[in-house]
């Protein structure tokens, strides 16, 4: 596994404005692009607009970060990444950002978020998703996070997913 180099900064402020045509393009592409020689022309035909308009608007949404990326979304189970551990960590609140950024730089962490605790049952405030081919691989990776945190690790847990109960992805209508 390797990672894209850039850290993604949290955006504040209002969401970028999308008009009705942007939303129609999103609805037409959220399940995927046509596998055809001119895929953007196919979408344009469905929406009865020009292909140039489709491409310009997709490019604008990509530049604005409304589209994270365009490409293939692998099924990580099918690629052999069968062990998926959500590692959760109790770290000092004043250091969450610093530690989150450092964990995010590890090449095996796919998502890293600050989330609220629910005391006393749920003391963890930093979440890092770790994927591996088996549990020992995931555990070795979690141990590297623990080493990185050092004394800032006030407790942690590793929650393996055992079943996908639903996965429809995001849909707008």
């Amino acid at each position: 596994m390797s990672t894209a180099p850039a850290l993604r900064e949290q955006r504040t402020g209002a969401a970028p404005v999308l008009d009705a045509l942007d939303r129609r393009i999103i609805v037409a592409t959220q399940e995927g692009l046509p596998r055809a020689s001119r895929p953007y022309h196919v979408i344009a035909g469905q929406l009865q607009i020009s292909a140039e308009e489709v491409m310009a608007r997709l490019q604008r949404m990509l530049d604005a970060g409304i589209i994270r990326r365009i490409g293939a979304v692998p099924n990580h189970y099918a690629l052999g990444y069968r062990a998926n551990g959500m590692s959760v960590w109790d770290v000092p609140d004043g250091r969450v950002r610093e530690l989150g950024n450092r964990i995010g730089e590890l090449d095996f962490v796919s998502h890293c978020y600050h989330r609220p605790r629910h005391l006393p049952e749920w003391p963890y405030n930093l979440f890092a998703m770790v994927h591996g081919r088996d549990r020992p691989e995931v555990e070795a990776k979690a141990a590297r996070i623990a080493t990185l945190l050092g004394t800032a690790d006030h407790g942690h847990a590793l929650l393996y997913s055992t079943r996908i109960l639903k996965k429809t992805g995001l849909r707008i209508s």
């Binding site: 365009i70 796919s110 992805g169 995001l170």
Partner: protein, 147 residues
Amino acid sequence: MDAIDRHIVNDLQGGFPICERPYAAISARLGLSEADLIRRLDALLDRGTLTRFGPMYHAERLGGALTLAAMKIPAGDFERVAEIVNGFPEVAHNYAREHAFNLWFVLATETPERIAEVLAQIGTVTGYPVYNMPKLEEYFVGLRFEA
């Protein structure tokens, strides 16, 4: 999956071009014809090696809202509750995990206000507390899986 499929999976997780013939634009780099690349992508999708091929939208920037929520469900009641939770169209993903907090789902709604409403409904209908764990800050999204 052969070496060419692996190359496709590894190479095409981002950066698909926006141009008139994007498959042709990248097929040369992969040493394939445009038609071969399209045929292989179709096969990877049919077999479930890829779950999608296209733009990945950033839900919050579409004006919608997302959250992660968790529940602690006794083993004997798990299937019933999971089915109720799955029945909400706003539930995009739902995972069983090994922990006292054993049901974890992602809620995606068109407006931020709907998050609290749907979580309250899930709590009422299932009879169990719902723990809302929204993202307060994101540090990294960008892992690529190597095939």
